[in-house]
């Protein structure tokens, strides 16, 4: 069974000039344990799509199912990691993780135990009692990822999680996420506008068009796992990059 199944999804918004169609019939599927990247030019409705998956808004037409359930039928159907770490400044690192787990329905003691174990497993336990503002941007995103990873939902939504980081930190974080994800393959929908990032991490890449957005290209990433940074120097990597670049270009 696919964890996320979207068919014929349409959404438009009222704007000063009239209705603007943002999503013009999107079909996509994320399978069990699959890492799918959604690649699109800015303003291509990626965050609208995520809002619809999260049930913050309803679609105009089409259907979204998360683990078989219609989107909107249950609050918080997916774990979520946004571009800004979105850690509550008045809660410690551990307090932030616990809160997310509590909202996802865990018991208090259980949430505490999971948070402690998770921090330990990732070697981050020394930050457990720190407040977010003392952490670097990269470290905040690690905590944010761990928080999503520990959440019990079957699907993880990662919304340009490294978009605000500098290039070096970004690469480091990609490798870190890659190694973690390869350990316990969760189903991931990863939104990005970086072609390299999508190629490095995903099993499959979907290219979104400009609004009204549809999926214009689908690419199965052929590289075996576990992957490493060596991928960058492979000729096939360069070819696929050029191919995706062309697909995105034609959409601008």
């Amino acid at each position: 069974m696919s964890v996320l199944e979207i068919t014929g999804l349409r959404k438009s918004f009222l704007q000063d000039a009239g209705r603007t169609e943002v999503l013009g019939g999107v079909d996509l599927v994320v399978g069990e344990g699959e890492f799918v990247s959604l690649l699109g030019p800015s303003g291509s409705g990626k965050s609208t799509l995520l809002s619809l998956i999260g049930g913050l808004e309803g679609p105009d037409a089409g259907e979204l199912r998360i683990a078989g359930e219609l989107a909107g039928s249950r609050p918080g159907p997916a774990a979520y990691m946004p571009q800004q770490a979105a850690l509550l400044p008045w809660r410690t690192v551990q307090g932030n993780i616990e809160l997310a787990l509590r909202i996802a329905g865990r018991e208090k003691a259980e949430a505490r135990r999971l948070a402690e174990e998770g921090l330990q497993r990732l070697g981050l336990e020394r930050y457990a009692r720190a407040y977010p503002h003392v952490l670097s941007g990269g470290m905040q995103q690690r905590i944010s990822f761990l928080r999503a990873l520990l959440s019990p939902q079957p699907l993880m939504l990662l919304d340009e999680p490294f978009g605000a980081l500098d290039a070096l930190t970004r690469q480091e974080m990609q490798q870190w996420l890659l190694s973690l994800w390869e350990q316990d393959r969760r189903s991931v929908l990863f939104v990005t506008h970086s072609i390299e990032e999508a190629l490095m991490l995903s099993d499959r890449i979907l290219v979104l068009s400009t609004p009204p957005a549809t999926i214009v290209r689908e690419l199965q990433v052929p590289f075996p796992r576990p992957r490493s940074e060596k991928l960058w120097s492979e000729p096939r990597f360069g070819e696929l990059k050029a191919e995706l670049y062309a697909a995105l270009r034609s959409e601008h």
Binding site: S51, G54, L88, W90, A104, A130, V134
Partner: protein, 271 residues
């Protein structure tokens, strides 16, 4: 690295004791110099004591009247604290209620902001007409004075959350009540404290004015009677106590903020 060694930022208003001392002594020195000049001016000139008493005379007369002064101070302090507690609690409660009822809020909030320009103290005589000369009209006046700054500051704070945090909380399924408790309420604490500081400054003044309008006890009535009896030194003593009470209450709120807000506030230097 141990978390205790992380470069945790200090909460606003804190600092080492030595740094605080360095900041405190210059104004104290100026204050002392002013008092000296005052004392010298009174002694060297032939100004009457009922017009401008010397600081030493004020201290002497205040000491002689210490029992009466203490009695009146306690009455004023009681009125101030009761009014402060009641007014700020009401302001906090109404702000929370209005925030959770957006439709009512949109009608009431502009009026609340406008009402900040109403000289509440002018309502005093009206309150006496309605509620007589007991504790109630005085308490209501102090409460009113404390209510508005807290209510308006809280409403602003509850609204002013970060959209990214709001979106995150909604995406992971946090309902209305959960967002209020875990996101909006803690997010508005710095606003709450700026409202509380205003209320602390206003509350003592409010209590003194309330006592002018009608009272048997309290620094307000004490100062009024002393001035009518040309005991100017005791008026000065009353003023000094009122100022001290105001500063102490303000300091208490500031300290409470320092102890509560242990994370860096989102916007530094809000008010």
């Amino acid at each position: 690295m141990d978390s205790s060694r992380l470069p945790l930022r200090k909460a606003p208003g804190s600092g080492s004791a030595a740094a605080r001392l360095r900041a405190v002594w210059p104004p104290l020195l100026v204050l002392a110099a002013m008092l000296l000049v005052w004392e010298a001016a009174v002694r060297l000139s032939s100004v009457e004591a009922w017009l401008v008493p010397a600081p030493s005379a004020i201290v002497q007369d205040a000491w002689d009247a210490r029992e009466r002064l203490a009695e009146h101070t306690v009455a004023t302090l009681r009125l101030t604290l009761l009014g402060f507690a009641g007014g700020t609690a009401a302001g906090f409660g109404l702000a929370a209620l209005l925030h959770l009822l957006p439709f009512v809020r949109s009608g009431v909030y502009p009026l609340l902001v406008l009402s900040q320009n109403v000289p509440l103290i002018a309502l005093g005589p009206l309150l006496v007409v309605w509620f007589g000369f007991g504790l109630l009209p005085k308490l209501l006046l102090v409460m009113l004075v404390c209510f508005f700054p807290v209510c308006v500051a809280m409403l602003g704070g509850l609204r002013g959350g970060e959209p990214a945090l709001e979106r995150y909380m909604r995406m992971i399924g946090a309902g209305r009540w959960r967002r209020f408790i875990s996101l909006e309420l803690p997010g508005s604490i710095t606003h709450l404290f700026s409202g509380l500081k205003l209320a602390a400054s206003y509350s003592v003044t409010g209590a003194v004015v309330a006592e002018w309008i009608g009272s048997e006890k309290g620094l307000g009535i004490f100062m009024l009677l002393s001035s009518k009896g040309f005991k100017t030194s005791l008026v000065f003593a009353g003023v000094a106590i009122v100022v001290t009470l105001s500063l102490l209450l303000f300091a208490a709120v500031t300290e409470a903020e320092r102890l509560t807000v242990r994370w860096r506030p989102r916007k530094e230097g809000t008010e």
